[in-house]
Symmetry: C2
Subunit: 430 residues, 2 copies
C-alpha cells in the first residue's frame, strides 16, 4: 500500500465542507490511525467562487464530478452530492467500475440502488461504504455488519430522522401544533424548505431499508417499506399519549420472521419507559435484537456537518487500513430476497381518536363495528365539549391484526356522525 | 485464505460453552458473513468429564491449554480461561509468538499486559482481539477504534459492571441495604462468591483502562486508575440522592486534556435526566465524546454467556474476513504515554453525609472548615432523630477541587462530635 491515500471529494455542501474540515484538523490523528497519510487532492462542486469556510487552494477543481473518476491522482472518491440518480449515481457507479473505492453519505442512492452498486463494488474488488447514510455519527452499519455479525438479528428499529424527532419533541414540550413547529424548524435551519422527505417519513424509510438489508442479509428493498409521516399528528394526540403514559415518536421498524421481512415507518406511541421515549431533539437511536447478544442500543447525533463527517471519514479510515468487507456484510450473491410482509399483518395495540357528533348510539355503533372485526377495546375516554360541538372519543385497543382494524375504521369513517377521518396511531411496546 | 478457519478454544466455563453454542447454532450465518467456514477443532479445559451442555465429540482435547499453540490444526486461539497471569498469559503470548491470532474475553489480562501483548501481536503480524473484555455484547472497542476513528475522543465513561449496577438498582427499588442485596445477588448467581473484583470497582477499572487506551491512543495504564467501589453506599444515601434528583451509579470515567489522562472509578450521583440514570439492572452503557461526532451512547447487556459469545465470535468474524488493525487502533510504537492526572485534581460538586452529635456549634465548625478549604456549600439538610441519637447532616457543595475537599473532610472527621467517617459521593453532571 502506498503511504498516501489521495481523496477526491464531490459535493461541497454542509457535509462536504465538514469533511474537509475534519480531514484538515485531525490530519495527524488520521495518519496515526491509518498508518498512512490521508490527503485531499481534488474536489468538485457547482460553484467555484462560493465561500465555504474551508481552504480549497492547491486542490484540483473538477466542474463535472465524473472528472474524479478519470483523475489519476484520486485513489478514493467521496460522493457527497446527494440524490438517488443523476450525477451522484453516475459518479458512484463510474468510480466503482474504474476500480476506485467509494464513500458516500447518500441514503437515497443506497436505498434505491444499493444492491446493484454493491455488486459492482464486488465485481471490481473495491470498497463501497455508506456509514454516513444512516443515523449520522452513530456507527450503526459497522456495528450490525461487524460487531454484531455473530448474531441472527430478528429486529432493528429506531428513531432515524432528527427533523421529525425535533418537531415531535418540540410539539410535546410546547403544546404547539405541527405546522407551527415545522415553520419554526424551517426558519432555524432544522428543516428543509421542502420538508417532504423528512416529515413524510421517506428519509426514515431510506435509512430503514439500508439497515434492514445489513441486519438481515437481504437486498435493499425500499419499495416495500410502508411509509407514513408525522403531518397527521396533532397536539391533542400528543397530550392524550402523555395522559396514557406514552410518547409519540416516528419510528422505522424492520422485522424478519418465517413469513418474510416487514419494514414500516410511522408515528408510534411508545411507553415512557422505552429507551426511545427519552431520545429527544435531533438525536437518533437505533436498537437491534440479536439471538445471542440480546438488545443493544446505539444513540447519537443523527445529522449535521460534524457527525456526518465523522462517519464519512470513519469509512475512509477503514479503506486506508485495507478493510474489505462486502458492503452489506455478505457477498451480493448470498443476499437472500424475502417475501415482504404487509402492514396489514401487524399484530398489536392501537390508539384511536374519533371526532363524533354528540348524539346517542354513536359509541355503541363504533364499538359494534370494532367487535365485528375482532378488535377489542381496552379503554375509552370521551371528552365533552361545548354543546353542539363534535366530541373526541379516544380509545385504545387490545392487540389485534391491522387488517381487521383497517376494515373497521373504513366502515366507521363512513358514519354520518363521524365528522373527521379517524386518527390511528400504533402502540409499540418497544 | 483457506476456506476453513480452524478454532482452538481454551476454557469451557460459561463463556466458553456459550461460544461453542453460538459457533454451532449460527454456523451457516457465519459462513455467509465470513465467506469461509468457522470450525472448532480443539478445546482445552480442566475437567474432561464435566457436562457443559455442548457437544465436544470429535474435538481434540488438550489438558494443557498451551497444547493449542503447537496444534497444527488450530489457526486461531480463543482464550476464555481468565486471570491476569498463569495459563491465560502463557497461552496468549505463546500463540502470538507462534503467529496465531488470538481472541480473548480476558479484561484483567488486557488491562495488565495489553501494551506488551499488542506489541507481540504486531511483531508477529497477527490479530489480538478483545471486544468481549469490555461491556459484554456492546461493540464498544470496534466503535472507538474504527467507527469513531476520525475523532479525537476527549472523554469516555460509563457503567461497565453489571453486578454493581444490579445491586445499586435493586437497593434503589427496594430500599434494602448493600449487604442484603449482595447476598441475594450471590444466591441468584448474579454476583461471585468472592465479589471483590466487582463491588470494589476493580473489574470496572480493568475495563476503563482498556477503553481509555483505545480512545486516547495511550498504552493501557491500569495502575493509574483511581478505584473506589460501592460497599460504602447506603440505602440512606440512595434515598437522599433520589430526593435531590439524582441516582447513584458506579461509573468509570476517563478524560484526556493538556494535563494528561485521568482515569477514575467510583460511585457517582448522576442527574435523573442523564442517559446513565436509566441504565438498570445488569445492563452496561458507554458514552464517548468526540470532537466531530459529539456524544454517542452505546448500551446493551454487559455480561453473560450469550452477549460475551457474541463479542468473541464478532472478533473471530473480523479475523476470518482478514481484518488486521493494531489492537489499540494505532501501532504500539505510536501509543503515547501521558501524565496520570490525580483524582485530587477533580473539579466538581460533592454530596456529603456526616453523622454528628446533636450539639450546638457542630454545623458552624463544619462550615468553617469547608470554607477554609474553598469549599462552598450549595445546600444543607439536617435530619432530626430521636433525642440523644446522632443527626445526619446532608450537604451538597458547589464545584470545587477535590484536594481541598479531602483536606477539609480529614479535619472534620477528627471532630469529637462527628461519630462516623464522613460519606462523600461525587456529583457528575454527565
Amino acid at each position: 500500500m502506498s503511504d498516501v491515500v489521495r481523496i477526491g471529494v464531490a459535493g461541497l455542501g454542509t457535509v462536504g465542507a465538514g469533511t474537509l474540515a475534519l480531514l484538515h484538523d485531525n490530519q495527524q490523528l488520521l495518519r496515526d490511525r491509518c498508518g498512512r497519510t490521508v490527503s485531499v487532492v481534488a474536489v468538485s462542486a457547482r460553484d467555484r467562487a462560493k465561500d465555504r469556510g474551508v481552504e480549497l487552494d492547491g486542490l484540483r477543481w473538477h466542474d463535472d464530478p465524473r472528472g474524479l473518476i478519470a483523475d489519476e491522482d484520486v485513489d478514493v472518491v467521496l460522493e457527497l452530492i446527494g440524490g438517488d440518480s443523476g450525477p451522484a449515481l453516475d459518479l458512484v457507479s463510474g468510480a466503482l467500475e474504474a476500480g476506485k473505492p467509494v464513500v458516500t453519505a447518500n441514503k437515497a442512492l443506497i436505498a434505491m440502488h444499493g444492491a446493484t452498486l454493491a455488486g459492482l463494488a464486488e465485481k471490481n474488488d473495491v470498497a463501497l461504504a455508506f456509514e454516513a447514510a444512516v443515523a449520522g455519527g452513530i456507527p450503526i452499519i459497522k456495528s450490525l455488519r461487524e460487531g454484531l455479525a455473530a448474531n441472527h438479528i430478528s429486529r432493528v428499529y429506531g428513531i432515524l430522522n432528527g427533523t421529525c424527532n425535533y418537531i415531535l419533541t418540540t410539539m410535546e414540550s410546547t403544546g404547539r401544533e405541527f405546522d407551527d413547529v415545522l415553520a419554526e424548524a424551517q426558519s432555524l435551519g432544522y428543516a428543509e424548505a421542502d420538508p417532504t422527505f423528512d416529515v413524510d417519513g421517506i428519509d426514515t424509510a431510506h435509512k430503514l431499508a439500508i439497515v434492514s438489508s445489513v441486519a438481515f442479509g437481504a437486498p435493499v428493498d425500499f419499495s416495500s417499506v410502508y411509509t407514513a409521516g408525522i403531518r397527521g399528528v396533532t397536539a391533542t394526540d400528543i397530550r392524550h399519549a402523555s395522559e396514557l403514559g406514552f410518547r409519540i415518536k416516528l419510528l422505522g421498524i424492520a422485522t424478519i420472521s418465517g413469513d418474510g421481512i416487514g419494514q414500516r415507518v410511522h408515528p408510534c406511541m411508545v411507553p415512557e419507559s422505552s429507551p426511545m421515549a427519552h431520545v429527544d431533539g435531533a438525536f437518533n437511536a437505533v436498537l437491534a435484537d440479536g439471538d445471542f447478544v440480546g438488545r443493544t442500543v446505539f444513540e447519537g447525533p443523527g445529522a449535521g456537518a460534524g457527525p456526518t463527517a465523522s462517519a464519512v471519514v470513519g469509512d475512509l479510515v477503514d479503506i486506508a487500513r485495507g478493510l474489505k468487507i462486502p458492503p452489506f456484510g455478505v457477498r451480493s450473491s448470498d443476499l437472500v430476497s424475502r417475501q415482504a410482509v404487509s402492514i396489514e399483518n401487524r399484530y398489536g395495540a392501537y390508539y384511536l381518536r374519533l371526532e363524533v357528533l354528540d348524539q346517542s348510539g354513536v359509541l355503541a355503533d363504533v364499538a359494534a363495528h370494532l367487535r365485528d372485526h375482532d378488535v377489542s377495546i381496552e379503554s375509552v375516554l370521551q371528552r365533552g365539549r361545548d354543546p353542539g360541538e363534535p366530541v373526541s372519543v379516544i380509545m385504545t385497543t387490545h392487540e389485534t391484526f391491522e387488517a381487521g382494524l383497517t376494515a373497521a375504521l373504513k366502515s366507521i369513517s363512513a358514519f354520518d356522525a363521524v365528522v373527521d377521518p379517524p386518527c390511528m396511531i400504533r402502540i409499540e411496546n418497544l
